[in-house]
């Protein structure tokens, strides 16, 4: 029987444990801004500050989609940034885990679907996990990462079944 302190420690390292199970290595994230107001971007930056300190679990933000396992997309894809999103998606390495952060990325949010705004990144690229919120709390983003790992595990398992 584990003591209460040990159990909370287990919960705390659940993210790292899960990453080792699913990917076998640390998780690298590339942030893609597709026309957001920067609210969600600030919340994502908050993940690396001393309070949340997501880097202790092995999650890192990288400067190129070529290094990234996961794309975190904020903003509801404006017409000018559609090309940037598609290029980033094509340049990302497998598995291309796409996580939509914020109301705009999920469905267009307050801007909706207009002539300049596509209204959600799922019109452009396939999405693994939706994290609603305006902006979502950093903890909600951590939950989104955990769910994306679940989804990747499901998809990779199905892929294996199809091969046989």
């Amino acid at each position: 029987m584990k003591s209460g302190k040990e159990q909370t420690a287990d919960l705390r390292w659940a993210l790292q444990k899960r990453m080792k199970e699913v990917l076998g290595r640390s998780l690298h994230i590339r942030h893609v801004d597709s026309g957001s107001c920067n609210g969600c971007d600030f919340e994502m930056n908050t993940l690396t500050n001393p309070i949340y300190d997501i880097q202790r679990f092995g999650v890192d933000f990288v400067a190129s989609p070529r290094h990234a396992d996961m794309l975190m997309v904020t903003g509801g894809v404006t017409r000018h940034l559609e090309e940037a999103l598609i290029k980033t998606y094509n340049a990302a390495s497998e598995p291309k885990m796409v996580v939509a952060i914020g109301a705009c990325a999920c469905s267009g949010g307050i801007f909706g679907r207009t002539y300049a705004n596509y209204g959600g990144i799922d019109h452009i690229v396939p999405v693994y996990v939706y994290v609603p919120g305006c902006p979502p709390r950093p903890e909600a983003i951590i939950e989104g990462i955990l769910l994306a790992l679940d989804r990747y595990e499901e998809l990779s398992r199905n892929k294996g079944e199809n091969r046989h």
Binding site: L15, C106, G133, C134, L147
Partner: protein, 120 residues
């Protein structure tokens, strides 16, 4: 130098020890809808800036659907609702793999609406 050390000593470790902590009581999170209190006045649907709330009126019932994907958690719906049928909770863990899960719809029967309407 001494000030710096004193500052570090005072601040101590700020890193969270748990992965998920409860949001403050006044945090505007997931809005919840109580169908028994609803009068069908449509004040929430018209006041919602993001168009997250839609009301559909049928012959005998009214269906209110709330999309968390559109919601910007401004709390205006809770403010304008006279009977407090919509209230914002401090629940923030809304992430999902399936987009359809983000839309919640609830039904309220029109008979109840008419009686409550008469009272008002």
């Amino acid at each position: 130098m001494f000030d710096l050390i004193r500052k570090i000593w005072r601040t101590k470790t700020v890193t969270k020890t748990e992965l998920f902590t409860e949001a403050p009581e006044r945090f505007r999170g997931k809005p919840v809808f109580t169908s028994s209190k609803c009068t069908g006045c449509e004040a929430c649907a018209t006041s919602c800036p993001a168009g997250a709330i839609t009301l559909q009126q049928n012959d005998d019932a009214i269906t209110l659907s709330l999309s968390y994907a559109h919601c910007i958690f401004c709390g205006i719906c809770a403010e304008v609702c006279e009977t407090n049928a919509i209230q914002l909770t401090n629940e923030y863990r809304l992430a999902t793999k399936n987009k359809n899960e983000l839309t919640v719809s609830q039904q309220a029967t029109l008979a109840k609406l008419l009686t409550t309407g008469k009272e008002v």
